[in-house]
Amino acid sequence: MRFLNLALLATAAALALPNAASAHRAWIVPAATNFSDQDPWATFDAAISNDLFFADHFPMQLAQIKVTAPDGSAGTIEHGATGRYRSTFDVHLTQEGTWRIGTESTNVMGSFKVNGVEKRVGRGRGGPPPGMMPGGAPRPAGEGRGPGGEGRGPGAPGGEGGRPNIESVELSAIPADATDLKLTEAISRNEVFVTRGKPTETFFKPTGKGLEFAPLTHPDDLVQDQPAKFRFLLDGKPAAGLKLTVIPGGKRYRDAEGGFEAVTDKDGVAVIKWPQPGLFWFTTSTTDNHPATPRATERRLSYTGTVEVMAP
């Protein structure tokens, strides 16, 4: 972690959000999703990249990843390591049932004006959000950017790349007399589920808050010849008309990305027909005007997951 620079962290944070201008995707990939062992360990890779699941861009930060045991208690990441392009870690499945491994983040970003001068909030395309910079590691010389030339440095005052010099402030630092508030609350989750023994439903009971994955087909019960029914809820109600993008892994060995879309019906259910067995990444997002953050004007919610589909 110490070796990571600010640009990398900021980029990783930015890219963890869908709807970013790029096609960079955050993923957590399990080696397997179902375990029959009496003392099983699940092992994972986590990264951010264009092609799925080809780790060639940035590692996902382990500090962002949370493990939850079937009974709802916090699990632990073990044997974690972060390389140049990916993080790897294990989870000791000490309980029977379905485990959740994932990230959840809430960021507020946007802009406002004070006396006609524009200022920014949160990371936007600027600085990293609070909590994204453990230790506040200094930026090693010559490591400002990834090889891809992201052009997304930490937007500290001074800007770079010829961008206007716009000050970025904390949310709490918005003055009372600010005008032209355009604040977006972005809530995103990225999850994968693995199961020891019999699958459990602990994590799919709706809380009634935000965009929730409440599948009718358990994500650890997927077989290629059986369409899956993935249901999504928005504040506890069926999220109708939600567009799901589903992309198979293994892009490196194909010409085309091979992604497809599924749309949720009035019950919030999208039916996904798997074109082949293997690992699939899916994502969906929606926007409304019900943010919880005071003075925010928009709420953007996204849910991303990785699933393993078995051969019949």
Binding site: N34, S36, Q38, P40, T195, G197, V223, M310, P312
Partner: protein, 161 residues
């Protein structure tokens, strides 16, 4: 991958009494000429055609594996594991046994099966080898059936009295 049934290896009938009246599952585990051979994990189960709980007839695995418990690879029998295996913590002793050498095996169907249509499924998964699932539709108590495996399994049939 030349394979042949070793009927010479003998026919093993386990637990003959009353249950044998319900019928018999016959399976061949083929002899495979490969550099590294391990006996396959095998699961035999029945799925009611109209839906309902699958019924495991037998599961053969390396229960006494040294080092890691042999249950680790039960999930390689992915069809069985999904519909039946994972619903119990470990396979019940009454239906589980050690892995078997290539040969012909006759396994009695449970005596308390209700009449009706079923699909008999036999799945085999072998370390460093392949995996195969063979399905045989049957209607108890009158209609048996047979099918042929092509790699990990040979002939599979259900014979009824």
């Amino acid at each position: 991958m030349r394979h042949r049934s070793l009927s010479l290896a003998g026919t093993v009938l386990a637990g003959l009494p009353a249950s044998a009246m319900a019928g018999t599952v016959n399976i061949d585990i083929p002899h495979l000429t490969v550099a590294e051979y391990h006996r396959p994990y095998v699961a035999i189960w029945l799925e009611p055609t109209g839906g309902g709980e699958p019924r495991t007839v037998a599961v053969w695995y390396d229960a006494k594996h040294r080092g890691e418990p042999g249950t680790k690879w039960l999930s390689d029998l992915r069809g069985w594991w999904r519909v039946a295996g994972r619903n119990s913590a470990t396979p019940p002793a009454a239906i589980s046994g050690a892995t078997r050498a290539p040969g012909h095996y006759a396994i009695p169907l449970p005596g308390d099966l209700k009449p009706g249509a079923y699909t008999l499924k036999v799945e085999a998964a072998r370390e460093t080898g392949g995996r195969e699932l063979v399905s045989v539709p049957v209607t108890l108590p009158k209609q048996g059936g047979k099918a042929e495996g092509h790699g990990e399994l040979g002939a599979v049939s259900v014979t009824l009295p």
